[in-house]
Symmetry: C2
Subunit: 189 residues, 2 copies
């Protein structure tokens, strides 16, 4: 099921390949899309697409690169700052979804350029200290950056599907993405 760990040089190339795609994927999916598709959160108390893009912006501003630098400068001697999971709600109130998509793309490009300067394969085993999870490696941090993208982009799809919950009629019984918004364990018919 799960691929074996890859060597460190390939790992950096393949992880940054994925990270580089995210802004274009989100722009292709959401850019200029009518608000009838983008105004609904993934669950009743969840996030709309614009909240998710805002959360990804927070990661670029305060998390992934800052933690990379913390590992390189301090190792486990100084733990990471915590991730502000709701920072976007106030910060982004005046921005459109399209503006947020461009902001995210700019920040991601800057951070990947900086990452390429900072990190080489030999660094991936270096360790840092997460405030709740304890010791982690730089390699785990970079993998988590990419999987965190995947997790939140998938959440965008759930909100978009939810915007059309009332449109699909009896087909809802076959659409797990709609059923799981109400019951996470639901299985489509």
């Amino acid at each position: 099921m799960t691929a074996p760990l890859r060597d460190n040089a390939d790992f950096i190339a393949e992880t940054t390949d994925l990270l580089r795609r995210t802004p274009a994927v989100l722009r292709g999916l959401l850019g200029g899309l009518p608000p009838t598709w983008t105004g609904t959160p993934d669950t009743a108390d969840g996030w709309r697409p614009r909240d998710i893009v805002g959360h990804l912006i927070t990661g670029e501003l305060t998390d992934w690169l800052a933690r990379t630098e913390r590992i390189l400068e301090h190792g486990t001697a100084r733990e990471f700052d915590r991730f502000e999971r709701f920072a976007m709600l106030e910060r982004d109130a005046g921005m459109t979804l399209d503006e947020l998509l461009e902001r995210f793309a700019d920040l991601r490009a800057q951070n990947l350029a900086r990452l390429a300067e900072l990190v080489s394969a030999a660094d991936l085993g270096r360790r840092g200290l997460h405030p709740s999870l304890g010791e982690v490696t730089l390699r785990q941090l970079l993998a988590t950056w990419a999987v965190h993208d995947l997790d939140h982009i998938a959440q965008v799809f759930a909100g978009m599907a939810g915007s059309h919950d009332a449109e699909v009629g009896p087909w809802k019984a076959y659409l797990g993405i709609l059923l799981r918004r109400e019951d996470p364990a639901a299985i489509a018919g």
Copy 2:
């Protein structure tokens, strides 16, 4: 939570806008991506990205347009043919993921062109007969086409995340997309 039903002309424009994006989103996400990201199914007995693209190809070949035509020609007098949910496994065995992405893009473009010729706003209330679900409208069929895209693209992300399950270390506890591959009701910490 859910947007009210929209008028039929807007509905066609907004639904086809979404349907037109899917091939580019999938190509941007998966095209040329190393197999370390694309070889894992979304769940233990689930589908890899190539299986999902194949399933979407089946929909273009045999389902959405065929059912649209059935409604327009026969109304509820002749029920839809069933959707072959596993047709892709044998049919696509010799094709690469990149080839499947191009095949899907071609079929989707052809089908949207044909849809624009066939269907106008006045047709959306016309009814057909689903072999299990009973009477459905053309509008529900088109909404389901789009939400079905969203459902299966989200599934692609789960497989991609799963390919890196062993890479994220203790962060897995925070990554719902990984936890739910093993327990659909899991909640990230």
